[in-house]
Amino acid sequence: MTIWQKELDNQIWLVGVAGRLDQTLTPELEKTLNTLLTANQFRLIIDLSQTIYINSGGLRCLVAAWRRTHQQQGNLILFGLTPRLHEIFAMVGFDQVFTIVPTQQQAIQQFTAND
């Protein structure tokens, strides 16, 4: 159960969520994202391929960060969602607002294509 982060090329940061995005991991994700946003990093990619669960608190945490990136012409892109996780996003309509792609490479292209 961890949150990890890695700086990629082109001022993009990758943040990974391995485990359950509920009260056990959400506070740590919130802290990690806030640290990046405070450091003016607004090109964020979230690896959810190892995220096995998400509740409303986890969804709210992602939306809060998404809003802050958009206020600065950035974005927060999600990739690697399991079909079940994708269904949860769809239930609350978030599949229509977040940019969700299958792979990390595609997530990076979302940023670099516009550079």
Partner: protein, 153 residues
């Protein structure tokens, strides 16, 4: 014969794992399809967390949970003595409004309603809030078949 399993915790978010455990174990005992258990867990967690944080306003109290199989339905009842709150009256979020402007309150309630087939609220004769979550067709189809066969004979 109907079997009903019950469990109670004090209203503390640290007790959510104990609730998860109860839901998982009871679902298995009742023969619920394991593929549905995560949905049940998520729905119960959203409701229980709401009771703990808003119903009792973080001041503690008891949250009781019952799980029961009735015909092809699974019923999960949560009872508490916190501030009365009927989540079934909460308006569905406007999923078409821009995310940047959307109010994210009530998302847990909405998610619960999406995960379950039916959600009902009432105040019991004893003055408790009682929320019932109903999910249909959750029982392992192999068991359902054997049950049906047994009745045909």
């Amino acid at each position: 014969m109907q079997t009903c399993f019950s469990f109670a915790v004090t209203a503390d978010l640290q007790n959510l794992p104990a609730i998860h455990h109860f839901v998982k174990e009871t679902a298995a005992a009742l023969g619920v399809d394991p593929a549905v258990v995560t949905d049940l867990r998520l729905a119960v967690e959203e409701v229980a967390a709401n009771i703990m944080m808003h119903g009792y306003q973080d001041e503690g109290g008891a949250v009781a949970i019952e799980m029961e199989a009735a015909a092809d339905k699974l019923l999960i009842r949560l009872r508490d003595r916190g501030v009365p709150f009927d989540p079934t009256t909460v308006a569905a979020p406007d999923l078409t409004s821009p995310l940047a402007d959307r109010n994210l309150g009530g998302m847990g309630v909405y998610l619960t309603q999406q995960l379950m087939d039916e959600v009902t609220y009432r105040v019991t004769a004893g003055g408790e809030n009682e929320l019932t979550l109903i999910k249909q067709g959750v029982f392992d189809s192999s068991k359902e078949t054997s049950w049906a066969n047994a009745h045909q004979r």
